[in-house]
């Protein structure tokens, strides 16, 4: 035991020289416990999954926007071969009619070799397609504000060239939109479910921490701490854990998304890469996507804070 100093009367108040390494303001609820680290890992994993889902939703939204933008500004005239008609004459007639429509910006006839090439994935390369009745295509680029005259153009085309059909891609756009919206909604649903799971994990961990710190909580009460003070202490602990877990999970998700983008750009030359690019564009989620990932991580931390505070207040009310 240390030797006591002289009596109080002999004491002289002096400016305290505190050791440099003296901890003076440690959290009242310890953060670096085993349970704390386990919870941080759970939060990191959940944030990672939620952030990936959010990233996937943003990717799908961006890709579908690109598809819609590309497809909606185009129309295709398809002219089927008809033994009773001259396909080249029909082609020229359709081009002439299309060129006369104000809403159409440009008209391009797809050359026959190009049309034939479109069949290669199904029929294979090197086949002589001369005998096959391969339809001819005319691609029409539309002006931004395409008006109702396109409907009239469709009717006129059917009248003048019975073997032609005008495809405005509406069905295709609708299907793409449905698919993209399903992906986006699934992503949002997964994010919400994961956030709920994170909230529940924090609630259980808070109750565990409170039960484990019951003695400390009683001491805090008896030295004059009110419920709000104790709740703040627990909340700050869980916000810290949430922020750390969120940062780790969100950081890992950003890394994975960046890595996938890099791999996609490396494979761009390969056929698989082309298909990927056709589906997802450049496989980049952009600033919006990274913003969504960071937002998810911050929401997880906020949920950790709010849920722990709520749980602690309920627990303390139960003790009263």
């Amino acid at each position: 035991m240390s030797t006591p100093e002289p009596d109080a009367e002999e004491m002289v108040r002096e400016e305290p020289a505190l050791p440099v390494n003296l901890r003076r303001d440690s959290p009242l609820v310890p953060v670096d416990s085993v349970a704390g680290r386990a919870l941080m890992a759970v939060i990191a994993i959940l944030t990672f999954l939620a952030a990936l889902s959010a990233g996937a939703a943003v990717l799908a939204a961006r890709a579908s926007e690109q598809w819609r933008g590309a497809v909606a500004n185009e129309m295709t005239i398809q002219i089927r071969p008809d033994a009773r008609r001259d396909i080249e004459a029909d082609l020229a007639l359709a081009v002439g009619m299309a060129a006369g429509v104000a809403a159409i910006e440009s008209v391009r006839v797809v050359p026959k070799p190009e049309s034939d090439k479109l069949l290669e994935p199904w029929l294979g390369a090197g086949l002589d397609l001369v005998e096959l009745p391969v339809p001819r295509l005319i691609v029409l680029k539309l002006k931004a504000a395409a008006g109702p005259e396109l409907a009239a153009f469709g009717a006129a085309l059917r009248r003048e060239v019975p073997s032609a059909s005008l495809d405005d891609h509406r069905l295709w756009v609708r299907r793409l939109s449905t698919m993209a919206n399903t992906i986006i909604l699934s992503g949002v649903a997964v994010v919400l479910l994961v956030l709920c799971a994170a909230g529940l994990a924090v609630a259980f961990a808070t109750r565990g921490a409170m039960a484990g710190s019951r003695d400390s909580v009683e001491v805090l009460h008896l030295v004059g701490a009110d419920d709000a003070f104790i709740a703040r202490e627990f909340q700050s602990r869980f916000v810290q854990l949430g922020l750390r877990g969120g940062a780790v999970g969100g950081g890992a998700a950003i890394l994975v998304i960046g890595l996938l983008g890099w791999l996609a750009s490396r494979w761009r030359a390969a056929p698989e890469g082309e298909q990927l690019q056709a589906l997802f564009g450049a496989f980049e989620i952009g600033w919006t996507g990274y913003g969504a990932v960071i937002l998810v991580a911050m929401v997880v931390a906020a949920i950790a804070g709010v849920v722990s505070r709520f749980t602690v207040r309920r627990y303390l009310r139960g003790l009263a």
Partner: protein, 219 residues
Amino acid sequence: MVRFENVGLRYGMGPEVLKDITFSIAPRSFQYLTGPSGAGKTTLIRLVLMALKPTRGLVNLFGQDVARLDNETLTAFRRRMGVVFQDFRLLDHLTLYENVALPLRVLGKEETSYRAEVVELLRWVGLGERMHAVPPVLSGGEKQRAAIARALISRPELLLADEPTGNVDPALGRRLLRLFMELQTLGTAVVIATHDITLMELYDAPRLVLADGHLHVDA
């Protein structure tokens, strides 16, 4: 300051551990709470601290019936009391400095505002060189002195000390007793729970004697 009238306490459906307890503690008074081990001294202290609710009787603290206290008032009353627990109840992950400063910290005070006071008190109880240590590495006596320092740091109106000299050598025990007497002269009402006859003989004061769940006062 504290008034108990016919207070009884039982745990669950068990027998009453405290029966018809009637006593009062006046401001600036000094008294011992004594009795054999297991007589209920700690339980009585917990009743005064409002850590336990009596099953019957009236407990009046600082002029108010505790049965009608809301949480805010309860906290305000606890801030007017200092307590030394028999088992110290220090927070193991905090340094001695932080443990002693705890009652001031929970009031929301800035660390710099109480630093001098905490260091002075730690030095006075002989822990000036140990302020960076955490409780698990301290001896029983050191923990006891830290617990006493924590109880005194907020200059309470009522000090409840449960066996405060149980783990210190006789010299420090006498010194701590002098400190408690000094606190009394400065305006604190002091209740020392002890079964140390030698300590009680050093300074004559009324004794609240607990035996078989009943309490009588030896003036």
